[in-house]
Symmetry: C2
Subunit: 324 residues, 2 copies
């Protein structure tokens, strides 16, 4: 049985999974990302954990063949195999991820790195709702807004390996400050913190409202609480989703003009709100599209298992590499 | 000697060229686009003109082998081989370009259609400044703003064959009305008519200026005259280019966040202004880019011969098809 290892390097935890060719996670484990000393020690510990997990999998499954290791990380660069100047990791500078892991797996057919949203897009294509699609875009809504682009059946990585940062394109010139410091980016409006900001702005404009979220301390409020309030019919919470969807739809239209995708997939916490987010996003995207594009492009929820999407996506990169 | 036929279908004229594998135009001719009666008669006349040109070329060159016919046209759809509801052509509805031409060239190895900006990008890759590049974007500045995207060494066509309409992405929400009727599109600011509009707005704000362009009747003013005034140091004309460049740079940054191209090529009349346009575009693009993208992406003038770019670009599609 052929499997791939998927690794998701996050700021707090690194998750490791053994994934089969259908995207099923056979086994998984994790190690903390910080606290190992330098980056070489971290990758040594990570490699040991991968080896241990492979051994465990071998005990369960006869003839297990590990075809490669796919690694996803914010700003992970496919071309160079490095993570450069990550703001969410304790390691500094340019981190030679592939080179370091390769030292521990000399015989592994494939070791590949990419950013987490690209990995998610690969996962969607291999195991999820984008099976058989050759042109689609995936947006991951969370702390930030990530994106992964597939065109002509291949991941669009770009000359510098940095394609798919659509969250940082300008939605409203001179608008809200983004996590990156620039003004008006899509991410500043459509990420989970962006939704919180929208809620706070709306509460500020409606000081006498009896909104359910008006009682939540500002420091505790998050997009999940806004969703819960919206589910109870809270007017301001509903408006937050409506407005977030509209902003997202505006941004998606710009992406359609670039790429003419067959579908757009949304992934991440806020997508649990379903129609509350998808309906205004679709309506606003359509409103901003020329007639030649209208009513052709679905906005769909990701079919990846949210808990495992990062590792299954990373593992999908391995199968894609082996096709080459 | 292997050659390809390049055809450029414009609203007024259809230009036909016999082009060699280095992008050199061996022979060219043209027929008016309207005035043939229905679309079938037009393609019959076009096909006869192509045959005639091939015969003439055979007289000049021994062993001439025509490998295919590449056709470029606004909103020409690669997937379907049709032009759908063109606003600039006298023919109505869905025009089956490839099917109709194929009737006259049963044995031709390749007959392929795409939109004119995509064709220009292919020309740049095959014969121009993008030789050897696998990831770049080309913008054509003229009556509109077209674009062609190359990623992973292939043209990005999109699920519906309509990728690369970046000119219609929103630059300034609620801004200037575009030729398509929507507000705030990049094209409304950076096309030749957009530049004229900018000039008129600036003249309106500076009623007492002695600008050289203030004496030109509004109906006659065009981007070339603005360029000529700018060359003479005219302050308002210079400002028009500065501002156009800034808007373009803003738009290019959004494209970089999508695609991380190795370079961006600019083609078309306004690019003759050189640094007057390229410098503010580059500066404004850089200003809008995250540090991981900075100082990596050149904005370059197209190396295609302006007069022949449409037919050489269309011919380039043939070689690309033959690679498949």
């Amino acid at each position: 049985m052929k499997v791939a290892v998927g690794v998701d390097i996050g700021g707090t935890n690194t998750v490791i999974g053994i994934v089969d060719q259908n995207g099923k996670v056979i086994l998984k484990s994790n190690i903390p990302t910080p606290g190992h000393g330098d980056f070489e020690r971290y990758t040594a510990d990570l490699s040991n954990s991968i080896k241990k997990l492979i051994s465990e999998a071998r005990e369960q499954i006869k003839n297990l063949k590990v075809m490669g290791i796919g690694i996803g990380a914010p700003i992970g660069n496919y071309h160079t195999g490095t993570i450069d100047f990550a703001t969410n990791l304790s390691f500094k500078g340019r981190l030679p991820v592939v080179e370091s892991v390769r030292r521990h797996f000399a015989e592994m057919p494939v070791i590949v790195l990419t950013n987490d949203a690209n990995a998610a897009a690969m996962g969607e294509m291999m195991y999820g709702g984008a099976k058989g699609m050759r042109d689609f875009v995936m947006f991951t809504l969370g702390t930030g807004v990530g994106s992964g682009i597939v065109a002509n059946g291949n991941l669009v990585i770009g000359a510098d390996g940095l394609a798919g940062e659509i969250g940082h394109s300008v939605l409203i010139p001179g608008g809200r400050v983004c996590s990156c410091g620039f003004a008006g980016h899509l991410e500043a409006y459509c990420s989970a913190p962006g939704m919180k900001k929208t809620a706070l702005e709306m509460l500020d404009q409606n000081r006498n409202s009896d909104s359910l979220i008006s009682n939540i301390p500002e420091s505790e409020l998050d997009s999940k609480m806004i969703f819960e309030a919206a589910e109870k019919g809270d007017k301001i919470a509903l408006e937050v989703f409506e407005k977030t969807g509209e902003w997202l739809g505006m941004g998606l239209a710009n992406t359609v003009y670039h790429l003419s995708p067959g579908a757009i997939f949304l992934f991440g916490g806020p997508t649990a709100a379903g129609d509350l987010l998808f309906k205004p996003a679709k309506a606003c995207m359509e409103k901003n599209l020329l007639s030649i594009y209208k009513n052709k492009i679905d906005i769909l929820p990701s079919k990846l298992n949210p808990g495992d999407a990062a590792i299954t996506g990373a593992s999908a990169m391995v199968w894609k590499e082996l096709e080459k």
